[in-house]
């Protein structure tokens, strides 16, 4: 580290000024507003927070979002780890890798069209099911919509998590595996007793990164189903959007602060896991 204490600030200052103007100061204002009443002049104490937490739409959405995260994360993490491990031993993997990563580049709007054709009541999926004499569903308008959203999330993020796992796998030295092989350990044993334990630190980072990324699935949910989607996929992000269009500044302010606090907790955990690496 260089000594020039001023120099560091010189480099950071222009960027930090922008951050202050566009994010920090206005967010401070939002925190202030979260304690004011709707008109914005009287002190309301924790009333806004009480309202948000008691709000039915908010509760429904918070529950849905929590369930979504609890279902998606384990699924995504195991699938992407599986793909990464299988892929790691392949000689020519760059083409496959591109195919897993390309969903990150595809605009949501282009996906929505296909999803509509696939998941519609008369869509491709039901057509495929009927070939096997299975009964189809109206995927987007029943509770199955939740499944479609989970699928979208995994479709989009599989490649991202795969890269993170591959980076972790690369850090495990080959000589441990060779030693284990000499001692007669099979593929499965190697995975259980070498790969998994060695991935522990990076796994924590990946879990939290994936959690924070899971909020972006809103794009697909919104484009597929609009502002008031099927009840099971009514997410926190929808609530915020709807409050915004009603201009319920008081509720929005309290809601933003609450969400920020929860996520901040995870960010602090993420930072600790980075420090441990």
């Amino acid at each position: 580290m260089a000594k020039g204490k001023k120099m560091g600030w010189v480099f950071v200052l222009p960027s930090f000024c922008g951050v202050l103007v566009f994010y920090l100061i206005p967010f401070g204002d939002v925190v202030r507003r979260s304690f004011l009443n709707a008109v914005g002049n009287g002190f309301a104490g924790l009333e806004n927070y009480r309202q948000v937490l008691g709000n039915q739409a908010f509760r429904l959405a918070a529950g849905n979002t929590a369930r979504f995260v609890l279902v998606c994360l384990p699924l995504l993490l195991t699938l992407s780890l599986g793909v990464a491990v299988l892929l790691q031993n392949l000689a020519r993997k760059s083409l496959l890798k591109s195919a897993y990563l390309v969903p990150l580049a595809i605009p949501a709007a282009s996906v929505v069209l296909l999803w509509n054709v696939v998941f519609d009541n008369a869509g491709l999926l039901n057509g495929l099911l009927s070939l096997f004499h299975l009964e189809g569903k109206n995927w987007m308008e029943t509770d199955a919509a939740f499944g479609v959203l989970v699928f979208s999330y995994i479709w989009k993020n599989l490649g991202y998590d795969m890269i993170l796992w591959l980076a972790g796998l690369q850090g495990i030295s080959k000589s441990i595996y060779e030693a284990a092989r000499v001692d007669g350990a099979g593929t499965w044993k190697c995975f259980l007793y070498i790969t998994l334990p060695n991935l522990r630190t990076v796994a924590f980072t990946i879990v939290i990164l994936s959690f924070l990324n899971s909020f972006k699935v809103f794009r697909e949910a919104y484009l597929v189903a609009g502002s008031y989607p099927q009840e099971r996929i009514y997410l926190l992000q929808h609530v915020f959007n709807n409050w915004f269009s009603e201009l319920s500044v008081d509720k929005m302010a309290a809601g933003s602060v609450l969400l920020c606090m929860v996520l901040l907790l995870f960010v602090l955990m993420l930072q600790r896991s980075w420090d441990q690496e």
Partner: protein, 279 residues
């Protein structure tokens, strides 16, 4: 045997990944009639179930021609996307690179706090900052202008973080050697930092490009005038008269993103990996 199974599983996932591209690539060159025959049931104009072919039976360039000649809105949106994405990337390079250098290579008072603020901000979903952004843009009278998307985008801290991770990987000895030779701090940044951290800068720009090109929430919230909308808000409306053109437009909308991704895939991967493991 085991190998074959794993390859089959991997290939199936891969096929799912690229399925929207296959779908659009075929549809863009089909005539309206052919598309309606295939997906009519979804639009309730035909009975039965939808179907899809991997290749058009009667390939046609009609959609492309019609899109190029008859739809000025589409080009307006395309241009808006270019403007927004270009503005944000240029700004991120200009402001983000020095910031990353300052955080990575110097110790100064308040650095820990700034670092924490930056990584917290990059992890917050748009919904957390939506109201605050709206309030400040309103005060600056920037709402409903491209600047309302570009300016906050420039100061999104994600790219700073990626570049920071790469700058941290440059060995201090090189910088010390330069200092002994009499190089100033700015000179070191321009002559050593930027060239040695180029991979990080490119990674950050590739990731940002995809983020900006596919931006939805921000323009939807801050831009009321439709003629300012970027291509990412172009929702193809498919009906019997324009199915082909819509699919063709969707295909063109995703081309720049996919091309940038393919050209910068190595950097893209490095950028993602840098958030899990240190360089």
């Amino acid at each position: 045997m085991k190998r074959a199974i794993s390859i089959i599983i991997l290939a199936l996932f891969a096929l799912l990944g690229i399925s929207p591209i296959i779908f659009l690539a075929a549809g863009a060159f089909m005539g309206n009639q052919e598309i309606m025959d295939a997906i009519g049931p979804v639009l309730q104009t035909h009975h039965g179930n939808a179907s899809w072919k991997l290749l058009p039976k009667f390939p046609t360039m009609k959609n492309l021609v019609q899109l190029l000649l008859d739809t000025p809105e589409f080009f307006q949106m395309f241009w808006n996307s270019v403007k927004i994405t270009g503005g944000i990337l240029a700004g991120q390079f200009l402001f983000g690179t020095p910031a990353a250098w300052g955080l990575a290579r110097y110790s100064f008072r308040g650095k820990k706090v700034i670092y924490l603020i930056y990584i917290t901000m990059m992890m917050m979903p748009f919904q957390v900052t939506m109201l605050s952004e709206y309030l400040v843009l309103d005060q600056m009278h920037l709402l409903d202008t491209s600047a309302s998307i570009i300016l906050p985008g420039i100061f999104s801290t994600f790219s700073v973080f990626i570049i920071y991770r790469f700058f941290c990987g440059i060995p201090e000895e090189i910088l010390e050697a330069a200092r002994i030779d009499g190089a100033g701090e700015l000179q070191i940044f321009f002559r050593i930092g930027i060239p040695l951290g180029a991979a990080g800068i490119i990674s950050a720009l590739v990731l940002s490009f995809l983020e900006c090109w596919n931006m939805i929430e921000q323009p939807m919230t801050f831009l009321a005038t439709k003629s300012l909308w970027p291509l990412s808000l172009f929702l193809p409306k498919v009906d019997s008269s324009n199915a082909g053109v819509s699919l063709c437009a969707s295909l063109i909308a995703l081309l720049p993103a996919v091309l940038v991704f393919l050209a910068g895939q190595d950097y893209f991967e490095q950028g993602i990996a840098s958030s899990a493991v240190k360089e």
